[in-house]
Amino acid sequence: MSNSALWAVVLAGSLGCYLLKLAGLSVPAAWVERPWVTRVVEFVPAALLAALVAVQAATSGSRLVVDGRLVGLAVAAVALALRAPFIVVLVLAGAAGALVHLLAG
């Protein structure tokens, strides 16, 4: 993607996200407090975030790939289960990924 296309993506996404925020403060509550809106807001993040976890950890382009990222992800899951702070989770996952890279490379 060209640099100006990236700027377009950045600015369009930013404007859209801002308008979504502004809408909440501006429209009557009844417009937003409908069952299907509530359902979208409550559950769509879990679907998208899990999809992003899977795509970022186990794919490369259009292929499924197993590499150090999955090891890093497993380490992150253990750290999260032990209620480690966010920054610790990221450092441990990064260290695991780097270690696998060094050992495999």
Partner: protein
Amino acid sequence: MRVRALPRVVRVSTAAAARSATLRDAVGLGMAVGMYGVAFGAAAVGAGLDPWQALAMSALMFTGASQFALVGVLGAGGGALAAVGSALLLGSRNTVYGVRLAPLLAPRGWLRRTAAAHWVIDETTAMAVAAPDRELGRLAFWVTGATIYLGWNATTLVGALGAGALGETAQAALDSIVPAAFLALLWPRLRRTAAHPRVQRRVALGGAVVALAMTPVVPAGVQVVLAVVAVVLAGRPRRTGGEGAA
């Protein structure tokens, strides 16, 4: 509740204590969240954005999950529509937060409203709603918003500039940090204490499976947006009496 029975002096000092506790929590949360910015800045540059584009996202979009999603889709080779679409889908929860915050903030005039809207995110909403009264709720909103905004933008720039100088091993570390960051964002939704944790877990598992299954057949990035069908596949949550809010 018990405060009402106490003498006036104690009440005043309790109010002052509540105020400083709110300030302390807001600044503490703001600084902790601000640290995520390093991961975002590095991920954005890793996905092909330049540092100014990364900073523009933190300054203008200012909603973490959407920002990570947009660069995540771009990093996976995705197109503009999939990238913006996933950011907007994740950003839609801020609309509901705004509805919840509107009576509390009661922003007068368009200037205050447009300013307040920019800071309607997970953390400011959580802090404002959790505050013991309306005045402290407003204080918590503005202080949390300001601290996170400053920290998030400063650390985004640090991460974005730092990522350019990474060697191959550090790049491998970053590749592992990005999925871990998404997992850390997802995790609190799956905890037993979350609202409808069983449905959330089904949705998350379904989303991951759909995304992986679609990866070989659809253009990069589109599989992330398609994962929302998992919400339909997971079925409706059973109605319970006192369900908590997210």
